[in-house]
Symmetry: D2
Subunit: 346 residues, 4 copies
């Protein structure tokens, strides 16, 4: 059965990725796009400067852009995807949830709120139960579900696979693509022949979101995972695909082949956008992989790719990669929407 | 008093940097350049494809290139700088030392040999005493001195500054420039819009060389520093300047300002190519620095630049940067040569 | 009916593109791959370092690589595609043609020979008639057919569309991608933050090949087109897609909209790999297009894309673009193969 | 004798270059910096985000930023350099000239006005005589002098050198660096692995400004040069340095060596910032030069560099290059200021 869905903030870079991913989606039918005031009333074709490398779907091009408010969105929309700027989202998303809409949001606000589920469907689908808590506390008919930040989502599936070896501490360095900052976020003068060892708020997001994602939910309350996470985040001159170097301290012995096997066999989810396997793992014969340009589109941009697994004195080090605007943003929200549908929340 | 110096492997990328750095050097007079057989006998101008961004010094352009062998090098050369490929160096350098030449080498062979000093003059000048051991064991009149790998040298001065806080363990990720692989080492098809999470042998070099550099020499034997070092090395699309993310575990408490102060006040060396201060440190008002393009030429490319110092649960994290072909290669050997002169070894 | 085809020089960059384009081809069945001596006898999987962004087709991976000689190639191969280095091709291709094979070659040797057809199927399919002349003169049972250089092929379809306005003289500047030089052809040290205003032999190729392609064949002899062509060729830091600025002097008046219409309506060919339309034309509302990254994959990489048409005192100026390793190399040879099949030469 | 100078729009990218070029200038003493309203009253250090690769001069860092208006600028300033946005400049520059200030401006407004001199001191210093016409017509005590656009200035010195061969027609394609669009003008998402064949207004500037620069002034009126110029302008992923391919049609015969000699011997100006020679010319042994990264800093960024001179059916083709924010912007205005001083206008 098809769900009617909308996109909040549909003209931006992530909004365009949503449209691309929803074209021909087996479960979702895009019927509503919103943007800021000056775009409202225009056709999507006129309101958006389309920059994705596949053409605008014709039916979406002709949708009339709506304002981002409960009044402007049709009542029969089953699910809203949100890629609003976090300041706007922090105001509008609660209003929409109060008005009864279910929102699967990529925006960074409220991710760490104790009653807001932050999920990767293959990792912690049970956290969806927090919606009951949320509805009770906030008196909402709708619901707010978040996916993590793009740099977090690249690493957490591999950490989940390591948890069987007793994950104690994580040091991670990221080499992040410019698209993560939005279309105009990084100027060419900043990044050509350069790298920038700072992305505002990114390290804190990785450090806290990871522990929430790997935490446990007892039906009433969420406990953070105990592992300590320390992150250093860098912007480099790549277009798409975040590459990360992970150092994981483990309580149990784990030789590299054990670790590779744990990653390879980590289960995916039975949802349309979940890749099989969830994690593609390169072995020691391919020490130069994963690489952003070569590996970011695996599994349609939804697969996490790992490689370079080696022992360290306290555990293992390895590299992982995911497409930051697909698995790390729009695709993450769509996948969360699929989980909401599969679990009967919409 | 001026020393007469030569360059082994003078036509390559590092060889050209040697020539650039020796132009107008207050102590060294370049009188001899060697290269592989097919170049021998030509003028340097004809033998080398000059690619440095300053013109070839006229007097060097007219030097006749010699073969790289004891017979071909004049007896009155006081010091030889070596940027030979490590396979060639492993054969020729010992022959030259046996023949009585003193060699300050950037090549990676023999760096970890127990009787070969591996030095950064500002960090461990006392290790030069190993030359006595070396001469005794090998029966040489000359001597072999090594500088560390470019990625090691970028980090070790900052680690030395941290040692007062009890350095226990280091995790480090590197973002390395393409010049580190030599002029033809990285093709454009490999690196444009990409990053490569592997540089052959680099991680092992960082892990072992750091501990040797920070180790102690009792006049007879060298003990490695006890800190554990785990490294992940990446190539990114920058031309020059290695940027590194360091996570240091410390036994003592050290707040970020203490760490910055320890780095800022870490003493340099009283040698012509040693910058003052040794480490330029950016404070919390400049979280985006150091950056390769903006900071690699500080101190004529000889300064180490640090920034982004923040607390972690077990110590601190920070970023550091140095010019990989100046401080990390040719400049390192020249500086070692200055130390040899100052200490009376040549 | 399916033809059995082989690839000469199958392990290189263009060879890999051939394999990618022949996967699922409706008419051609790849049964034979050749490479240099040291690869012969290995499986293709072991012989080639696969670098294309789609996986190796399983059946190709298991083909045994053969030597590039008449003896090593099965007799029942109907058509050979060649991406041999031009030095090798100049020797082997004639031997193969003498032995009865039909060769559709991307190699640059013999393109300007008076009895070798140089074709773009949508532009000058009638030049195939030169094969009769060739067979008569050379006594071959087989045949040799060439496609032009990648920079030529990008421009010539648009010039053909202009010919109705009396094409008199062409000035063209190119901005060419690094893949045009092969995987290792351009080092990163050469091209990052740089451009190189010289590609050996490229300008001459554009100047002569264009006039042959636009020339007329009277059944016995080929006459070159009379237009003068002057080219300046540049390498820039893009991966794929050659962008060209064309200034065309015309004898007839042609306003920009006439020119756009002539390009838009220029007929394609009724062959599997020929796109419809042949030329995608951006209008004045999109002055910034075509762009390499945005437009190189139009029509599966086989479409020529034009834009920026404006009047000049003597005619028009405009920009055009094509994917240099698809439309400009492997795809060009495949399309020529399709023409050979359609016209009954194989 | 030292002149007191100011910079209008001192906080922007070109404004910062002005400051860098005026540090240690033998004739000019920087005493005044202006910026937009929100910066006025702050110290320059606080108002500007300094991005040039040399440190802010200490004395400039402590200057108080003024508003850009006649009232806010001290009367005893002898010369104002302008790098205002052209919209602002079109309003403020005439007010300043009316108030008696002499303005040497890099802004694009009024460049083609018949009574505004547009000069390159080595090319058309006599056009300064237009200031008399300007003062008479406008009733100004001050004066307005313009330098051309960065892409124009790169080519015109070489065209001037060709004029002895009867310059009839020019086709030119540019490969322009991102700094030409200002610090935030080109986003990384636009230009990585890409090129953009359009820069708004740039082609028109090259076509008209070139003819004015090469025109003749009879003491009362300026006549444009009769050569036709057609330009295509492209943005590529380089930081600094515009590279241009020029096709020049000439009435006289000129073999490549004649052309090189004419360029090499073209006279410079006896002014502090004018390089000697004005044009550095690479011969046929260096067909790959000039290149942006290798050649942009010749002559301190003030030299024009040419190469690749070859015959065409109607004349010659060649390549030229200049640093777009030094010779092409701030340095051009400073040089014009030096000419104003030398000729006694200030």
């Amino acid at each position: 059965m098809t769900q009617r869905v909308g996109i909040l903030g549909a003209t931006g870079a992530v909004g365009q990725r949503f449209i691309q991913l929803l074209e021909d989606h087996p479960e979702f039918d895009l019927v509503c796009v919103t943007a800021s005031g000056e775009s409202a009333g225009k056709s999507y074709r006129d309101a958006a400067k389309w920059r994705v490398d596949t053409p605008i779907p014709e039916d979406v091009a002709e949708l009339v852009v709506r304002e981002t408010s409960p009044e402007a969105i049709p009542d029969d929309v089953d699910l809203l995807f949100s890629s609003l700027p976090s300041g706007v989202a922090a105001e509008v998303e609660p209003e929409l949830c109060e008005a009864g809409y279910v929102v699967s949001s990529n925006s960074s606000n409220d991710r760490m709120a104790p009653d807001v589920p932050l999920t990767i469907p293959e990792i912690n689908p049970d956290h969806l139960g927090l919606i009951e808590v949320q509805r009770e506390e906030r008196g909402w008919d709708g619901a707010l579900l978040k996916n993590p930040n793009c740099s977090t989502i690249t690493m957490v599936p591999t950490l989940a696979a390591l948890d069987e070896f007793g994950l104690e501490r994580v040091h991670v360095s990221t080499l992040q693509a410019v698209s993560g900052a939005g279309y105009s976020g990084v100027t060419s003068m900043e990044i050509l022949d350069n790298a920038i060892p700072h992305i505002g708020g990114e390290e804190e997001k990785m450090e806290s979101e990871s522990r929430k994602l790997l935490g446990s939910f007892d039906g009433a309350e969420l406990s953070m995972h105990e592992a300590e996470v320390a992150a250093s985040c860098n912007r480099i001159p790549t277009l798409d695909g975040h590459l990360e170097n992970v150092f994981a301290e483990l309580t149990a012995d784990a030789d590299p082949e054990d670790v590779r096997e744990a990653m390879r066999s980590f289960p995916g989810a039975d949802l349309p956008s979940s890749p099989d396997p969830l994690i593609h793992v390169f072995g020691p014969e391919d020490p130069e992989r994963p690489q952003p340009r070569m590996d970011r589109m695996r599994g349609g941009g939804m697969q996490v790719v790992a490689g370079g697994v080696q022992s360290t004195p306290e555990g293992v080090k390895y590299n992982c990669l995911a497409h930051n605007t697909i698995r790390g943003a729009a695709g993450a929200s769509v996948l969360n929407g699929e989980l909401l549908a599969a679990e009967g929340w919409i």
